[in-house]
């Protein structure tokens, strides 16, 4: 029974990992760009929620009303002003610039919020749970999983049914040709980053409610997001959900064997899948 419980909790945790991964996957898909500060932006979103909760007394989930648009605008402007300058065939500048951002952001948060571990309380929601047979499923993990399905479904619909979505897919297929067709590549890149940042905001706020976090918690989130993307296969949004679930279940089973093995088990399952099936489970584009 404990094992089944560990697996179910792992599946639900996979939803949060899919939310971590969706932004990373989207940015790589559209502009072949990997943001090494991705995890730190998630943590920044969590601290944003904490700040609003403490200062304005907003309910943790309601902080999204402010955190989400702020991060989306920040993403758009950041892409236009800085990141567009380093997107290109040479991947070195983009990796090193975002790596620099990661260190800057971590240390700014450390200066502002100290190294203390933080957590946001969502009140009664924290302890609410549903019983299915002898299984007890928490409301927060269920909410996270539902949010992941809704976000991924929404993104899929957006890419399939809207004009901007189709343009972004075309940019993903060939970013240089799209410029010849009269589309503004710099704007499209910034739109992609804005959407990714909005997803990061959702992931950050939900993470703040689900787990403890501190200013140095970003890099490990980047690694989880990356693992979910690679397991799922590049370019597949639903793939990242499967990737997140596999990672979550691997960690759940690892923790069940020995609490010290939780993170290690996830990494090892990732490496095994990388060796056995380097293109991931549902690949749609090439690296």
């Amino acid at each position: 029974m404990e094992w089944i419980n560990a697996i179910v909790q792992g599946i639900l945790l996979g939803g949060l990992y899919a939310l971590f991964a969706a932004g990373l996957s989207l940015m790589f898909g559209v502009m072949r760009f990997v943001n090494l500060a991705h995890g730190d932006f998630i943590v920044a979103g969590a601290f944003g929620a904490l700040l609003l909760f403490e200062r304005l007394g907003l309910h943790p989930l309601l902080t999204l009303v402010i955190v989400l648009p702020v991060m989306a605008v920040f993403g758009y402007v950041g892409q236009r002003l800085v990141l567009n300058r380093v997107v290109g065939r040479d991947i070195l500048p983009s990796i090193l610039v975002t790596f620099g951002f990661s260190v800057i952001l971590q240390n700014l948060m450390l200066e502002q919020f100290s190294a203390d571990s933080q957590r946001l309380s969502a009140g009664a929601l924290d302890t609410a749970s549903f019983a299915i047979g002898t299984l007890s499923i928490g409301a927060v993990p269920l909410l996270m999983f539902g949010a992941a399905v809704a976000v991924l479904g929404g993104l899929n619909w957006f890419f399939g049914h809207t004009n901007t979505g189709r343009l972004l897919r075309a940019t993903s297929d060939d970013g240089e040709i799209i410029g010849l067709m009269g589309a503004d590549r710099r704007h499209l890149f910034a739109v992609a980053t804005a959407i990714a940042s909005a997803v990061v905001a959702i992931a950050g706020v939900l993470m703040a409610v689900k787990t403890n976090f501190d200013p140095s918690a970003g890099p490990i989130r980047l690694l989880f997001a990356f693992e979910a993307v690679i397991i799922g296969g590049l370019g597949s949004l639903w793939g990242t959900l499967v990737g997140g679930i596999i990672l979550g279940v691997a960690q759940g089973i690892g923790a069940q064997i020995d609490p010290g093995l939780q993170i290690l088990a996830g990494h090892i399952v990732f490496l095994i899948i990388l060796v056995v099936r380097p293109q991931g489970l549902f690949p749609k584009q090439k690296g």
Binding site: L36, L92, L96, F99, V103, I104, L108, L271, L274
Partner: protein, 329 residues
């Protein structure tokens, strides 16, 4: 086309610096020597990372894997196999190189930015694995027994001088090794791979084998440096051994600020890094913010770093490796 290296002024400059550094134990106090040892191993790590990222297009954020492995190998070989330190030190490098082999087989399945994060994941796997080994102290680490340290040389001063010379020798071997490598066929091949992998393959450069060899070789040297670092520290923990902040962030900042893709850049970056640290270390996390802002600014404005700025007009070079067309055939 041979490149000119018979510049008398340059040779004189190298000799003066060499003699100055080699006689360090005779003129430097203990604090200065510790600082110099640290500068030597940071410079060696920076040059090795630069060989990967700047010359071979392999951008790794996981070199702490090999620093940590080297450190743990030294402790294992001296404590459990009873080896003397001078034997264990190079052997730690060799063993780290052997472990880099399977590591590379996994990491090379990823390319570009994914390779960078993949190497980081693998370094985390090593960190978490060593935290599980109770014979090596698990998560809380282990100290080097005093009889092993005493066995190195008679007396504290002799021991510190020996550590100093080993560090200096490793740094010089790394710098001149890379210089010789870059002037050889291998260097030419690496440059071609970095600039355009497909084109390089089409003219007969064996790209995968070349990259693989460089990655494993760099890992072995990094492992030896890791062994030296923890020989000096006398204590090892998984957190310190596989620290991304110490062995990747700082090293990458040194290379980026000094100038990626040149041998002079990391030297300049290393000097600047230690000078800044002397003045700004009290600032704590603001110091890291400043380093981060400088390195992001440099990537955006002058990707060739400080060396690129200094050297924009004059084509002066300490370590000539670029091939030039002979004007007077």
């Amino acid at each position: 086309m041979p490149v000119s290296n018979t510049d008398a002024a340059r040779i004189g400059f190298f000799l003066a610096v060499l003699i100055g550094l080699a006689t360090g134990p005779y003129w430097a106090d203990r604090g200065t020597m510790r600082l110099l040892i640290e500068a030597f191993y940071f410079l060696a790590l920076a040059q090795l990372w630069n060989l990967l990222a700047g010359y071979s297009g392999l951008i790794s954020v996981g070199q702490q894997a090999f620093v940590g492995l080297g450190g743990y190998m030294l402790f294992t070989l001296t404590m459990f196999a009873g080896m003397p330190v001078v034997v264990a030190l190079p052997l730690a490098g060799v063993l780290t190189g052997l472990l880099a082999w399977p590591t590379a087989m996994v990491a090379f399945r990823l390319s570009g930015p994914h390779f960078a994060i993949g190497t980081w994941v693998i370094a985390e796997v090593y960190r978490l694995s060593f935290a599980q080994i109770s014979a090596l102290g698990g998560g809380s680490g282990i100290s080097l027994p005093t009889d092993i340290v005493r066995g190195m040389a008679d007396g504290r001063a002799a021991r510190e001088s020996m550590t100093y010379w080993i560090a200096l020798a490793i740094m010089l071997a790394v710098i001149f090794g890379i210089w010789v490598l870059m002037r050889s066929r291998v260097g030419l091949g690496l440059g071609a791979v970095r600039d355009n992998e497909e084109a390089a393959t089409s003219v007969g450069v064996r790209t995968v084998r070349l990259k693989f060899g460089v990655f494993v070789g760099v890992a072995a040297m990094t492992g030896m440096i890791g062994a030296l670092i923890f020989l000096q520290k006398l204590r090892i923990t998984p957190e310190a051994a596989f620290s991304v902040n110490d062995w990747s962030v700082l090293v990458i900042f040194i290379v980026v600020i000094g100038g990626i893709g040149s041998l002079e850049g990391p030297i300049l970056g290393c000097i600047l890094f230690f000078v800044l640290r002397e003045f700004l270390a009290d600032l704590g996390s603001w110091y890291m913010v400043i380093l981060g802002v400088i390195s992001v600014g440099i990537m955006l404005l002058e990707p060739r770093g400080l060396w690129g700025m200094v050297n924009r007009k004059r084509r002066f070079t300490l370590f000539p490796i670029t091939r030039q067309v002979d004007q007077n055939p």
